[in-house]
């Protein structure tokens, strides 16, 4: 069958499934809407959390990052999984014991402060909106490439689907839809990986394939890849670092604590019946996430090998080894038409030379061969997962499946984020601060309206992506890492941290992180406003802005604990509250007021 027809069939079938689930799981109370009635089984919840967490970025971008950064991309693999250990051990069970609906609600009560609650709401909304814009863009791009519609139409369809199941079902609808979406996305990710691993290494398990030898000969696959890339002047795959070792350390730590501080993930731990289920949920979530994350290094490395071998078909230096442009494969043409892959015949020989012309030593050798610079002037790393099945000549249905998987990843994360935003508006701002006396029905209606509004806003930003959208990931993780995570952790593990300390800590943490990011990338990412321009980039021990959140977090801890020492201790009932959330089946019912 035609690829387009197949893709429509796959995407249409999955969308119909999501909407069907939405009708079945309608929300009738605010408890249903915010936390799915606290009745979700930990395995199901783990699966939903995994879909919630794995966004278009995990599905589409991560393997590309690995393909081109090799060992350096380990920061994403460790950072985005290790955060679940922090969640399970340091936050999830206690937040579940606290037993409310949102993250700002916990911060507001623990620090007996409306200011703290409002600061938390602001951090939450900023971090979530940033993320949603990225998801919306992913939806638009996937539609426009594979369904041959324009970007805007794709976005409207995506918004419509999210609208139906999240406004109607709230967390309940979202959770059950996410379970279906997880199944679609993990199937779509692993099927091509298994095929490609079989092709290259003969081992059907990609995680083992990367450890093994090539199908032909006895060379190890990774040795082969190292050889192929370094022969063309690129950094050796398994040893190239991201910036420096210290930068990788900071980057990993920032992603880990950022993960544990992202509200749409934390909120999931409110949806299970018991404290012990909250612990187990983190474990199950990581099981389902690990299936994709341990496959990704195989997808990345094998895609890189396939890409290199397609262009450089034999020994470097022999003219016939470089593929002729007119003989380029179909997938090459497809991606050229999107502009994400670009060739420029610099030496006019009609053949493609793909090498690292920034490597001085290799550039000399290339010059001697009559090569006039790298001719693959653009290879967008985001195309790797989507192009991978085509590069490996897999059947059309696999490609269609990958598209449905990418959409599932983007939709599930968008819905989770939108719920986090909607609940903080209707529950924290409206019910918690402005109109505490509204009824349950009114609050449920307000939650639905907030959700619709959030979808509208996200759609607007998706249609008119602000210039700073690409740079804001640093802010999202930086915010979560430097403000939300420390406030939550100290709230549980340190009884002495008080209102003043917590607010000062959050503001300091965010402040330092934002300053460093803006100093590099411009105030609100407006070019030309990067201040202190004469300082060398990454001046703070070579740490890049994206990796800086952990420094902000350290400052947050230090300031909060320091200020709490010199100001009055939290009131008695707050200290009891902390003692109470530490014990799962609390006998001290006195604090349950």
């Amino acid at each position: 069958m035609e690829l387009t027809t197949l893709t429509y069939a796959f995407v249409g079938a999955t969308f119909a499934l999501y909407i069907g689930i939405a009708f079945w799981a309608r929300a009738s109370t605010t408890g249903d809407f915010y936390v799915a009635g606290k009745g979700v089984h930990p395995v199901a919840n783990g699966m939903a959390t995994a879909a919630d967490w794995m966004s278009a970025a995990s599905f589409i971008s991560m393997a590309g990052l690995i393909a081109f950064n090799g060992y350096g991309a380990s920061v994403f693999l460790m950072g985005w999984t290790g955060g679940y250990v922090l969640l399970a051990l340091l936050l999830a069970p206690y937040l579940r014991k606290f037993g409310k609906f949102t993250v700002p609600e916990f911060i507001g009560e623990r620090y007996y402060s409306r200011t703290a609650r409002i600061v938390a709401v602001i951090c939450l909304i900023l971090a979530s909106i940033t993320y949603v814009i990225g998801q919306m863009k992913g939806i638009g791009v996937a539609f426009s490439r594979f369904l041959e519609t324009d970007y805007d139409t794709g976005l409207y369809v995506g918004m419509g689907i999210v609208f139906i199941y999240s406004v109607m079902g709230g967390m309940k609808g979202i959770t059950y839809t996410q379970i279906a979406q997880y199944c679609v996305l993990i199937f779509a990710y692993t099927v091509p990986a298994v095929f490609i691993s079989l092709n290259i290494t003969g081992n059907p398990i990609p995680q083992l394939g990367i450890l093994g030898t090539m199908n032909e000969g006895s060379t190890y696959m990774m040795d082969k890849l190292n050889l192929v890339v370094s022969e063309l002047g690129f950094n050796e795959y398994t040893t190239q670092v991201l910036g420096s070792k210290l930068n990788m350390f900071a980057y990993t730590l920032t992603l880990m604590i950022g993960t544990a501080g992202l509200p749409h993930v934390i909120i999931r731990f409110f949806t299970v019946p018991k404290v012990r289920d909250a612990r187990a949920t983190a474990g199950w979530a990581l099981v389902f996430i690990a299936i994709l994350y341990t496959t990704a290094p195989a997808v990345g490395s094998m895609a890189r090998l396939n890409l290199m071998n397609t262009i450089q078909t034999g020994p470097v230096g022999e003219v016939a080894s470089n593929i002729e442009y007119k003989n380029r494969p179909q997938w090459f043409k497809n991606w050229e038409s999107t502009g994400l892959l670009k060739f420029e015949d610099k030496n006019g020989d009609g053949r493609i030379q793909y090498y690292n012309d920034k490597n001085k030593d290799f550039a000399k050798k290339a010059d001697a061969l009559g090569w006039k610079g790298n001719e693959m002037v653009k290879v967008d790393r985001d195309i790797m997962v989507l192009a991978n099945p085509e590069i490996a000549n897999l059947p059309n249905w696999v490609i269609a499946l990958v598209v449905a998987g990418g959409l599932a990843a983007a939709l599930s994360t968008a819905a989770g984020l939108l719920l986090a935003i909607a609940s903080s508006i209707s529950h924290d701002l409206l019910k918690g601060i402005f109109k505490p006396d509204i009824s349950e029905r009114q609050e449920l209606m307000a939650g639905r309206i907030a959700m619709a509004g959030a979808i509208g806003a996200a759609g607007y930003f998706g249609l008119h992506p602000p210039d700073f959208a690409a740079g804001t990931v640093a802010i999202a993780f930086g915010l979560a890492a430097s403000s939300i995570f420390p406030a939550l952790m100290m709230g549980i593990f340190n009884k002495k941290v008080n209102r003043t300390g917590a607010v000062a800590g959050m503001v300091t943490g965010i402040g330092i992180t934002m300053l460093y990011v803006f100093q590099h990338k411009g105030i609100m990412f407006i070019p030309g406003t990067a201040f202190l321009g004469d300082m060398s980039p990454n001046w703070f021990f070579g740490i890049s802005p994206n990796a800086f959140g952990c420094v902000g977090a350290l400052a947050n801890f230090a300031v909060a604990i320091g200020i709490s020492k010199v100001t009055s201790a939290p009131p008695e009932h707050i200290q009891h509250l902390v003692e109470d959330i530490r014990i799962p089946g609390s006998s001290s019912a006195a604090t349950e007021h």
Binding site: I66, Y71, S74, L77, M78, T81, G82, Y84, V85, A88, L89, L90, P93, Q207, L208, I210, L211, G212, T213, Y220, M221, M222, D223, T238, T239, K245, M248, F249, T252, L253, K274, V275, R276, R279, A280, A282, G283, L286, V287, A290, Y293, T294, P297, E579, R582, I583, P584, G585, S586, S587, S588
Partner: protein
């Protein structure tokens, strides 16, 4: 009340032990000591590289399940489990 304090102390001890392992497999084996560990090979890759891209994730999983199991046992020991 002392019982609760003991429960919390045992909990903290478990958390600290598990966090040390968490740090070791990722930051220590995967980043700080990666070059040294890479001299040991697991199939076609260095051990440090393997920890950074595979091993750490498997250990993270084990840590959470060990924590869950131990904490459930601790809840019972101190009789603070939910009904």
């Amino acid at each position: 009340m002392n019982k609760n304090a003991d429960y919390w102390k045992e909990n903290l001890r478990l958390v600290v032990i598990l966090m040390v392992i968490w740090f070791a497999v990722s930051f220590l084996f995967g980043i700080i000591l990666v070059d040294t560990l890479n001299t040991i090979r697991v199939g076609g890759v260095g051990l440090g590289f393997w920890f950074a891209q595979q091993g750490s994730i498997y250990v993270f999983l084990a840590l959470i399940f060990v924590y869950t199991k131990k904490m459930n046992a601790l809840d019972r020991k101190y009789n603070v489990h939910e009904d």
